[in-house]
């Protein structure tokens, strides 16, 4: 049963990846930030968040700008699948996602046309991490516009 559900999500993610990331709460950034600045922002986030296991930043088309592990394609697909499931839950685009499981916690946020996804240990400080992620995306978008 669980296997079937996974397949459905992946199929949906592949079909509508671009659509998912353009359904932003805020106006998308005019141009995407550079990969270097996205990587620097991600490194800064990792430094500030001791519970962080991994994270990724995606552009407005759902493309990976930076990912903390060596599997950018997986981050892209799995982030798309997460937002597909989240948007489908109430048929409205979500702004933030927080899922806590026994294995860890997942945070995702869409802001200024960009998307950030982070995975942490259990009992991470949710509001602090979401604040840092939102600030990070805001700074990246500001840099892209200037």
């Amino acid at each position: 049963m669980a296997q079937t559900t996974t397949t459905v999500i992946q199929d949906a993610g592949a079909r509508v990846t671009v659509g998912i990331f353009t359904q932003m709460a805020d106006a998308p950034a005019a141009t995407a930030p550079s990969r270097d600045s996205a990587e620097a922002a991600l490194a800064f986030l990792a430094e500030m968040s001791p519970d962080l296991r991994g994270a990724a930043i995606l552009g407005s088309e759902g493309e990976i700008l930076a990912a903390s592990s060596g599997k950018p394609k997986r981050w892209q697909e799995d982030a798309a699948a997460l937002f597909t499931a989240a948007d489908a839950a109430e048929e409205a685009p979500v702004e933030q996602v927080h899922i806590a499981t026994e294995q860890g916690e997942v945070f995702a946020i869409r802001n200024e046309g960009l998307t950030a996804v982070a995975v942490t240990d259990r009992f991470a400080l949710a509001s602090l991490l979401l604040f840092d992620m939102r600030s990070m995306l805001r700074e990246l978008a500001k840099e892209a516009k200037s």
């Binding site: 559900t5 709460a25 109430e90």
Partner: protein
């Protein structure tokens, strides 16, 4: 003989710290997995694991946790 004032203060602080520690212990034990979605209008919604939408969210989260791997030590 009444206790010295600083002892009273220390005991009170210790009692509060013990309460807080016990609260955190209970929270760790009792906290169940959850999936919470936040919308642009400020609304938030919880989705239980045994619902269809909740199950899909947990599967998607599980895959992200898998790709993130374990936290590097040190």
């Amino acid at each position: 003989m009444p206790a010295k004032p600083h002892r009273v203060l220390l005991d009170r602080v210790s009692a509060y710290a013990d309460e807080a520690a016990a609260f955190m212990r209970r929270r760790r034990v009792a906290r169940r997995p959850f999936a919470r979605l936040y919308y642009p209008n400020g609304r938030s919604a919880d989705h239980a694991q045994d619902t269809r939408s909740g199950a899909e969210l947990f599967v998607a989260a599980g895959r992200l946790i898998e790709v993130a791997g374990k936290r590097p030590k040190g």
